[in-house]
Assembly symmetry: C2
Homo-oligomer: 335 residues x 2
């Protein structure tokens, strides 16, 4: 099924959305908000599924679904933890800041605790206080879990993945080196992120959901041009279940925990860091990567970070070319 939160107050209003993203039906009689549904998922999910069937069959009155009226599926969440599962991304951004890929990377995921007190809506502008902060997008996959007990294994973690989304994890590259040098990880360098208009249950993906990875390309457009088309199931050192288990190693995870994949990134067929879409490659899901490629090729980065007026879109199509999650579309504005 497909679920969304229409903008309303701090937490939105839970609605069930048709598979083709054109219609919705309010689900307030089942749960008022997405978080309320997740808090009581075992009871709510079958009822939401039944409503989804009715929406598909047009057996209930539906409204017209407009993606611009959707908040992020969880407009605010109790937890947002973002991994960095794609080795090509890790190698490129670490090279850019003269930092090594840690030896432990292949068995111990990189993950940071992100801010979750207020996410941007999928069509909200990205407020930027200072262009020198180096605003970047990061196209990623994210999942939402129910309650995950401390010590859950990767095998068991897969069953705790209840919903999937896309995310634009906004990063302020100019603030990252100074902040990481302090030793406590990201804080000011990770302002509010935006999620796709719709969250879907894994079964919606059919065969494209396998081994806790989504087997479709992530489509990132920058200023209206194709920028990234990286296969989300390729070159992932860790899948989403492994990332959930990593997060639960020393503590319980509360229902509604959002876990991200990190920036989706593919190596080239020859093992190189790949090529831009304009040169026939899979491109990149963030600007930092293409800047590193440019630096390797010509000695200097040419693509500037985002400034007021620049736009980014993140989307994913099914095998018929239809958007699965709806489209994140954001413009940077001066704050």
């Amino acid at each position: 099924m497909k679920l969304a939160s229409l903008k309303s107050g701090r937490d939105g209003v839970l609605v069930v959305v048709s598979k083709d993203l054109t219609r919705y039906c309010a689900a307030g009689n089942i749960a008022p908000t997405m978080q309320a549904a997740l808090d009581n998922w075992d009871e709510c999910a079958p009822r939401l599924e039944a409503l989804y069937t009715d929406v598909e069959h047009q057996a209930v009155p539906c409204g017209r679904f407009h993606e611009r009226e959707a908040a992020s599926p969880l407009p605010r969440a109790y937890q947002w933890a973002d991994g960095s599962a794609y080795i090509n991304h890790v190698e490129l951004v670490r090279k850019a800041r003269n930092s090594e890929v840690p030896d432990s990377f292949y068995h111990d995921p990189l993950m940071y605790q992100g801010g979750s007190d207020g996410f941007l809506a999928p069509r909200d502008p990205i407020p930027l206080g200072d262009p020198a902060w180096g605003c970047d997008m990061e196209g990623e996959i994210a999942c939402i879990t129910d309650d995950v007990p401390l010590g859950t294994t990767p095998e068991d973690a897969a069953g705790h993945i209840k919903l999937l989304m896309l995310v634009n994890d906004v990063s302020l590259r100019g603030l990252i080196p100074g902040e990481l040098a302090k030793g406590f990880g990201f804080f000011q360098s990770k302002p509010a992120s935006a999620f796709s208009p719709v969250a879907v249950t894994p079964d919606e993906l059919g065969d494209a959901w396998k081994d806790s990875l989504i087997h479709h390309p992530l489509m990132v457009d920058y200023n209206g041009q194709p920028f990234g088309r990286a296969q989300a199931a390729q070159d992932a050192t860790f899948n989403l279940a492994q990332l959930v288990a990593h997060a639960a190693k020393t503590r319980n995870l509360g229902a509604g925990t959002v876990i991200g994949s990190g920036t989706v990134s593919n190596k080239g067929a020859d093992g190189s860091p790949g090529k831009p879409v304009s040169e026939g490659g899979a491109g990149y899901s963030c600007i930092a990567e293409i800047r590193m490629i440019e630096t390797i090729a010509s000695g200097e980065a040419k693509t500037p970070f985002m400034r007021a007026g620049d736009t980014v879109a993140v989307d994913m199509h099914d095998e018929h070319g239809h958007s699965i999650f709806g489209r994140i579309e954001q413009e940077v504005v001066a704050a």
Copy 2:
């Protein structure tokens, strides 16, 4: 006024507590939960204050308040960000892990994003998966804010501090060096924290709330013995308002954001790292500090980290010797 969340479901039930912590009155007709009150603070606060006056005058029917029945004031929160404002703590723990105090420390606070999807109740046991993880307590002050706009100054931030609490920020010292070496900050090394049974408005502290610091000693007991008596207003490089402003530099903070001071720690009168309570000093609010003192004095740390059966208490008294926030009392148990 003093507010608490009695244990009930995921978010507790909001109650107003008498100044002496003996009585409570349910506040459900004003706001069902602490978060709901914070979401609508300007409207709820005057009504809660009026109820507090009635509770003090015994003008409303009250129940007996038992601290063991209280959850953390926010049983789960949308944001928990912890600073590290006390230079003595920063110097000692960094020395213990052969890490430098960053040059920027005196003008740019250290702060990490913590997990907030589920806090321990103030009398809950601390579940520990493996004694080798090096379980430690950290006694701290924390505040809860309303909505704080991006770019708020320290001067303006003070007015956004709506409630104050104590916190035991549980840390797994054995996991910290490996995790920080990966560069993304704390994650597995910071399991769920516990907050004091009661949150209080700053005016409850009278003259002891000055310059966004609490001018009382923080009382930390370990296994029933006084362990820390550090003055919370002393040796703080940053006050709570400065920490709130730091958090809001690049993004809005949502209502119900919890910001911590970091481990309260005093230098000795001679500028040394101070002495244990048993030797007439102000002692320490975490075990890592005393271990470093022992290492300096004798070449090796003698006090082990916490194991199953060890107990910690965190409390703070007013000038008459009465507990202000109620008492955090926790025992470590094998998970």
